[in-house]
C-alpha cells in the first residue's frame, strides 16, 4: 500500500511538530525556576532537561502513550474500517496543534494533554459513533485532571510546611538547611526513582521485583544525596549578601536541591507529555502497517525515541527563550518554594505516568504552586489566572473535539 507511507509520513510530521511544541513551551515550566534562581545556567538547564526529558519519555512514557494510542477509542468497532482510525488520529494531531497555536496567539493557558484527549474523544464520538469511545477510561482521565493538581497541591503544602518548621523559622536557618536538605534530596531521588521502577519501566522490558525496586531506588537516592551533600558543604555564607537578604545563603543550599527536583520534573514531564505527540503516531503506524487495528501489538521503542527527540529539539531551539522569559517572571519561586512545588508535581505526574493516565503537567505544577501559596509561602498569587485556567479547561475539550471532527471529515474525503 502506497498510502501507508503517506499516512505514516503525515502522522510523523504532525507528531514531531507537536513534540517540538511541547519541548518549546512546556519544558520551561520544569527548568525556569532553576535558571531564575541561578542554580543552573541556561546552557546547563537545557542539557539537564534534554537528558531527563528524553529519559522520561523513553523509559517511562510507554503507559501513557498506550492509553492515547488505544485506550480511548474502542478498537473492536474499527475492525472493518481501520482507515478511520488513521484519519481520526491525524485529525486529532492537527486539531490539537491548531488549538494550541490559536491559544498561544491569544495568550490563553491551555494544556496539550486536554487538547489531544478532547480531540480524540471528539472524532471518535462524532466521526465513528458514541459507542466508539471507551467512556469509562475517559471518565477516569477527566477525574484525574481534577485530582492531580489537588494532590500536588496537598503534597507541596505539606512539604513546604515542613521546610518552614524545620528550617526557615529556626534561629540558625543555615545550619538547619545544611542538615536537612540532604535528607530532602534523598527523598526526592527516592520517590521519583521508586515510582518509575515500580510502574514505568515495563515497556522497556525491565521488570524488577518489589524488593529489588526499593533497594535500587534507595541506592540511587543515597548516591544523589551524597553528591548533593558535598556541594552543600562547599557553600559558605556571604556576609554582604546576607545583609541585604537574610535567607540568601539558605536559598543557595536549596538551589542544590532544586537541581535534583528540576531533573525530576523534566523526567516526569517527558514521561507524561511525550504521549500527546507520539500516541496518535503510534496508532497510525500500527494500523497503516498491519491494516488492522491491532490492540495487542506492542509499542515500538523507536516511536518513543522520536517523541523524546522532538521534545529535545523544541527545547533546544525555542525553549531556551521561553525558559529565560519565564525565569524572570517567577522570581517569587525561590529555591525553597520551587523545590516543594516541583517535587510534589513530579511525584504526582510520575505516578500518573506509571498508571498510564495522561494528565496536564502544567496544571499539576500550578496546583503545587498554589499549595505552597496556601502554606503562606508565596507573596502574591493572581487568582484571576486560576479562574482563566478553569475556563480554559471547560473550553479546550469541546474546542479540540470540534476541530478534530472538522479535520476528520476533511481527511476522510481527501485521503486515499
Amino acid at each position: 500500500m502506497e498510502a501507508q507511507y503517506i499516512y505514516i509520513g503525515l502522522a510523523a510530521a504532525f507528531g514531531l511538530f507537536m513534540a517540538w511544541g511541547i519541548g518549546a513551551n512546556d519544558v520551561a515550566n520544569a527548568m525556569a525556576t532553576s535558571v531564575g534562581s541561578k542554580a543552573l545556567t541556561i546552557k546547563q538547564a537545557i542539557l539537564v532537561a534534554a537528558v531527563f526529558e528524553f529519559l522520561g519519555a523513553v523509559l517511562a512514557g510507554g503507559a501513557v502513550t498506550s492509553t492515547i494510542r488505544k485506550g480511548i477509542v474502542d478498537a473492536d468497532l474499527l475492525v472493518n474500517s481501520p482507515e478511520l482510525l488513521i484519519y481520526g488520529m491525524l485529525a486529532s494531531l492537527l486539531a490539537a496543534g491548531t488549538w494550541l497555536f490559536i491559544a498561544s496567539k491569544n495568550g490563553w493557558p491551555v494544556s496539550t494533554t486536554h487538547s489531544i484527549v478532547g480531540a480524540i474523544v471528539g472524532f471518535a464520538a462524532v466521526g465513528i459513533g458514541i459507542e466508539a469511545v471507551q467512556w469509562e477510561q475517559v471518565a477516569t482521565i477527566v477525574v484525574s485532571w481534577i485530582v492531580s493538581p489537588l494532590t500536588a497541591g496537598l503534597i507541596a503544602f505539606l512539604i513546604y510546611l515542613s521546610v518552614q518548621r524545620l528550617i526557615l523559622t529556626q534561629e540558625d536557618p543555615l545550619t538547619q538547611a545544611k542538615r536537612y536538605v540532604p535528607v530532602y534530596i534523598f527523598f526526592a531521588g527516592f520517590t521519583i526513582t521508586l515510582v518509575t521502577l515500580l510502574k514505568g519501566l515495563k515497556h522497556v522490558g525491565l521488570d524488577l521485583s518489589l524488593t529489588n525496586s526499593y533497594l535500587l531506588a534507595t541506592g540511587i537516592a543515597v548516591l544523589i544525596a551524597i553528591v548533593g551533600f558535598i556541594f552543600i558543604q562547599r557553600i559558605e555564607p556571604d556576609p554582604k549578601a546576607e545583609q541585604k537578604q537574610h535567607f540568601h545563603t539558605v536559598e543557595r543550599v536549596f538551589a542544590v536541591l532544586m537541581v535534583v527536583t528540576a531533573c525530576g520534573m523534566a523526567f516526569a514531564h517527558g514521561s507524561n507529555d511525550v504521549a500527546n505527540a507520539i500516541g496518535p503516531l503510534a496508532a497510525v503506524i500500527s494500523v497503516a502497517r498491519s491494516g488492522i487495528v491491532g490492540a495487542e501489538s506492542a509499542l515500538p521503542i523507536w516511536v518513543l525515541v522520536i517523541g523524546g527527540g522532538g521534545i529535545v529539539v523544541g527545547l533546544a531551539t525555542y525553549g531556551r527563550h521561553v525558559i529565560a522569559t519565564v525565569g524572570e517572571k517567577i522570581t517569587q519561586l525561590t529555591p525553597s518554594r520551587g523545590f516543594a512545588a516541583e517535587l510534589a508535581a513530579a511525584t504526582t505526574i510520575v505516578i500518573a505516568s506509571g498508571t498510564g493516565i495522561p494528565i496536564s503537567t502544567t496544571h499539576t505544577l500550578v496546583g503545587a504552586v498554589l499549595g505552597v501559596g496556601l502554606a503562606r509561602g508565596i507573596e502574591a498569587i493572581d487568582l484571576r489566572v486560576v479562574g482563566r485556567i478553569f475556563v480554559s479547561w471547560v473550553v479546550t475539550i469541546p474546542a479540540g473535539a470540534f476541530l478534530a471532527i472538522i479535520f476528520f471529515f476533511i481527511l476522510k474525503t481527501v485521503l486515499p
Binding site: 515550566n29 490563553w108 491551555v110 526557615l168 537578604q245 517567577i330 502574591a380
Partner: protein, 224 residues
C-alpha cells in the same frame, strides 16, 4: 502560551513597600540638615533642603499610587491586602509631615530662638531616628514573608518594634521638655511666631507618631 506558571504570580508588593519606606525615610532625614541651615539663618541652603524634601515626598506619592494599582482584590497573599495598604498609608505620612514642617518654616522664614536651638535640633534628630527605625523594621518584611510570619524572624522584628516604641516615648518626653522651654521665653517673642513655633514642634513630633504607627501596623501583620 500565555505561560500559566509565569502568570500565576501577581506583582509582589513586598519590595515596592520596602522601597517606599526607604524614600519616606530619606525625605524625613533631610530635616536634620534643613534645621541646621534654618538655625544658622542660611535660607539658600534651606531652600535646597526643602526642594529635596519635596522631591522625595512626590516620589513617595508616585510609588504609593503604583503599589495601590498593583494590589487588586484578586491577589491572594499570606496577609490581608487592607493591612498592607494601611501600612503604606502611614509610611507615606512620615514624608508628608516632613514636607509640611519644612513648608511652614521656610514660608515664614521662622526664627528658632537660640536658647532652645540645641534642644530643638536634638528633638528633630530623635524624630528622624524614629523614622529610621521604622524603615529598619519594614525592611524585614521580605524575611517575614519567607518564614511565613513565624519563628525566629518574628522575635527579631518584635525587638526592633520595641526599640521603636522606646524612641517614640523619648520624643514624647523631649517634646514636653521643649514646649516647657519655649513656655519660659514665650513672652519675649512675637505672639504669632510663638504659636507657629508650638505648631511646628507638634508637627515634628507627629513624624515619630507616624513611625510608631508603622510599627503597630507591622505588629498587626505579625499577629496573623
Amino acid at each position: 502560551m500565555g505561560n500559566m506558571l509565569a502568570n500565576i504570580f501577581g506583582t509582589s508588593p513586598v519590595q515596592p513597600l520596602v522601597n517606599h519606606v526607604h524614600i519616606s525615610y530619606k525625605c524625613v532625614r533631610e530635616l536634620d540638615g534643613f534645621f541646621v541651615a534654618v538655625i544658622k539663618g542660611d535660607w539658600d541652603s534651606a531652600v535646597e533642603y526643602r526642594n529635596r524634601i519635596t522631591g522625595f515626598e512626590h516620589e513617595a506619592d508616585d510609588l504609593k499610587k503604583e503599589i495601590r494599582l498593583h494590589l487588586p482584590k484578586s491577589l491572594f497573599m499570606p496577609v490581608p491586602r487592607e493591612d498592607l495598604l494601611e501600612l503604606l498609608l502611614v509610611q507615606d505620612k512620615m514624608a508628608n509631615r516632613a514636607k509640611d514642617v519644612s513648608g511652614i518654616v521656610l514660608g515664614r522664614k521662622m526664627h528658632i530662638p537660640p536658647v532652645i536651638a540645641a534642644e530643638f535640633q536634638e528633638f528633630v534628630k530623635r524624630n528622624v531616628d524614629a523614622s529610621k527605625q521604622a524603615r529598619k523594621s519594614v525592611r524585614e518584611l521580605d524575611e517575614l514573608f519567607t518564614s511565613g510570619f513565624r519563628g525566629a524572624e518574628v522575635s527579631l522584628v518584635e525587638s526592633l518594634l520595641e526599640e521603636l516604641d522606646a524612641i517614640e516615648t523619648d520624643t514624647d518626653d523631649r517634646q514636653a521638655a521643649l514646649r516647657a522651654s519655649l513656655f519660659e521665653i514665650e513672652n519675649e517673642i512675637a505672639p504669632v511666631d510663638v504659636m507657629f513655633l508650638y505648631q511646628v514642634i507638634e508637627l515634628i513630633g507627629e513624624i515619630a507618631d507616624m513611625a510608631e504607627r508603622v510599627g503597630r501596623r507591622l505588629e498587626l501583620l505579625l499577629s496573623h
